[in-house]
């Protein structure tokens, strides 16, 4: 048997492509990815450091930039946990029970992925803006939603809405209900069952969803741009600050702040890869 395997090793299997084809395909793929993905990433850092490290650091260490960093962190700190809790609830309801209309519910949860970010911003302007449904009430009570932090958080929650749910639903469906049923039949309460049985089973999937959700929450541009009003130091998130600096031809500043966001993206990808290597079931899922 071993001899047969050894002799097989030397020969090309029928599903193997010839070496020239492999080299050609990998070469084309590498060239394409270098042009489309690596070049833009490299350009950000080169442009940020065009005048040396000093001006780049100065652009980041500027009150408006720091305010933007702070607002971005606040926005993510609210919207990501919110969507994580929602995702857990939705996945529990969908994966652990049978009910009619399940497919429709999953489609509706995925809906924000199909909506243009600009439309996502617009819908909240139509509701909370001056001429919107609650416009007069909000003005009378001196509550600001649009052109203020609540609007930014709402728009961010909308665009990142499906991330955690769509990660957890297939995972929990795969795991079935037998472990939870066993726990409940032995007298565990619902909450105890969740913490001791379900949570350990889904924690990696949850982290994966939270990771992608966070990257999008910190990086969202279109939706936030519609509701923010671009008030420096007050309602500018990091991506909006990048836009303002770029439009003012402060390229070093724009790319310096952009480089910070690139670092966020790189950290996200490293963590994501680490999760995939540690949890082989995670590979190939995700998306968006």
């Amino acid at each position: 048997m071993a001899a047969v395997q050894n002799s097989m090793k030397g020969r090309r299997r029928a599903v193997d492509d010839p070496l020239w084809a492999k080299v050609l395909i990998v070469g084309v793929v590498m060239a394409f990815l270098a042009l489309v993905l690596i070049l833009p990433l490299a350009a950000v850092f080169v442009e940020a450091l065009r005048k040396g490290l000093g001006p780049a650091l100065e652009a980041v260490n500027n009150p408006d930039a720091l305010a933007a960093v702070k607002l971005t962190l606040i926005t993510a700190a609210i919207s990501v946990p919110f969507n994580a809790v929602f995702g857990l609830c939705a996945a529990w309801a969908i994966a652990k029970y049978e009910f009619p209309g399940k497919a429709l519910l999953i489609t509706l949860i995925d809906l924000p992925f199909s909506v243009s970010p600009v439309v996502a911003g617009l819908i909240y302007v139509l509701i909370f803006g001056l001429q919107g449904w609650f416009g007069e009430y909000l003005v009378d009570n001196d509550i600001k939603v649009i052109f203020a932090v609540p609007g930014i958080v709402l728009a961010t929650v909308f665009v990142t809405f499906p991330f955690v749910a769509r990660e957890l639903i297939p995972l929990m469906q795969e795991q079935g209900t037998s472990e939870e049923e066993a726990a409940v039949s032995m007298g565990a309460s619902g909450l105890y069952t969740f913490w001791r049985v379900t949570a350990p089973n889904v924690r990696w999937g949850l982290m994966y969803g939270v990771l992608l959700c966070n990257a999008r929450a910190m990086g969202e541009f279109g939706a936030v741009s519609v509701v923010s009003g671009h008030i420096r130091g007050l309602t500018n998130t990091m991506p909006l600050h990048v836009e303002i600096l770029y439009n003012e031809y402060d390229f070093v500043g724009a790319f310096a702040v952009a480089a910070l966001l690139c670092l966020l993206a790189v950290v996200t990808l490293v963590l994501k890869t680490a999760l995939e290597v540690g949890q082989p079931g995670m590979r190939g899922r995700g998306g968006h």
Binding site: V44, L122, H288
Partner: protein, 304 residues
């Protein structure tokens, strides 16, 4: 009715009766609406939270834009939705998204094929990089691409002598959408390719098919549903994309102005009904794409 009763029962039942009930056979004669009643508590709570949040964050706000657009007469709606400027914007948006999705369709298959079937140095890095467009904020991609493809940029300087104007032109819009859409195609094809049985290919080969025949007639047809899904997802995302496009597009009315930008321009002029009108057209396209994607996936499941 049924749902309400399950909810109340779950809250009052002890675990024991719950399990006994769930294992009881469904009543004979008619097919039960619920395959079996669950012993696990929490349906009422989690379903309640899910429906409430979904309605408040997504469904009711989305209905606001439809109501706003419906507030005007059909003639006004039609005039704005099909004005020359709007039509030019749709043509650019859909055209660029389509071309970008086709290009991603070709290179996405090759990338997925290389990642699944071959071992090569740096594969882990390449695999991680494919998701860069998901992780990188779109505005960052936008300014980077605009700088690269500007006439004096790293890439633009080589295109200018060839007479190609990339940035501030529809070509630039397409370039940005290629960046945005790539992972959709790769990540939808990859799992299908990984699960595809190599023994079918071996069988084809042992029956005398050459490699090209095997790929054209065995591998690619099996990939078709995933490829179409990835293509449709990349197209749908491209149609709505804003951040990565506006920096490189040039934003000239009738020429390089995308539909999402038109919404923003109307909004800045306080023309809320007009903004809502274009938004409704885009929503209609998004929902159609969503239905198409679901139909493709339902069709693909028939072959499982």
């Amino acid at each position: 009715m049924w749902r309400a009763r399950t909810l109340d029962d779950d809250q009052t039942m002890t675990a024991d009766t719950a399990v006994r009930r769930s294992s009881a056979p469904p009543p004979k004669g008619k097919r039960p609406l619920f395959r079996r009643r669950s012993a696990i508590p929490g349906f009422g709570l989690t379903m309640g939270v899910t429906l409430t949040v979904l309605s408040l964050i997504v469904l009711i706000p989305l209905s606001a834009v439809v109501l706003k657009a419906a507030h005007q007469s059909p003639a006004d709606f039609w005039a704005v939705a099909t004005s020359q400027r709007s039509m030019a914007a749709y043509r650019l948006t859909f055209g660029a998204a389509f071309v970008a999705a086709v290009i991603n369709g070709v290179f996405g298959v090759l990338t997925a094929w290389a990642l699944v079937r071959y071992d090569f140095p740096g594969k882990t890095v390449v695999n991680a990089l494919v998701d860069l467009p998901f992780a990188l904020p779109t505005a960052v991609a936008g300014i980077a691409l605009a700088t690269l493809y500007a006439p004096t940029g790293w890439v633009g300087q080589f295109l200018t002598p060839l007479g190609i104007k990339a940035a501030y032109n529809p070509v630039g819009v397409t370039i940005a959408l290629i960046f945005i859409g790539l992972p959709f195609v790769v990540r939808t094809i990859e799992p299908v390719l990984r699960d595809a049985a190599e023994d079918v290919e071996e069988a084809a080969a042992s029956l005398g098919a050459n490699r090209v025949d095997t790929i054209l007639r065995i591998v690619l047809p099996a990939l078709a549903p995933a490829w179409l899904t990835g293509f449709a997802m990349a197209f749908a995302r491209g149609v709505g994309e804003y951040g990565s496009v506006i920096f490189i597009a040039g934003n000239m009315p009738y020429k390089s102005e995308i539909a999402p930008l038109l919404i923003i321009i109307q909004l800045e002029q306080f023309e809320y009904a007009r903004a809502a009108t274009i938004a409704v057209v885009m929503l209609a396209v998004s929902f159609t794409m969503l239905l198409v994607i679901n139909a493709i996936q339902a069709w693909a499941r028939r072959f499982d």
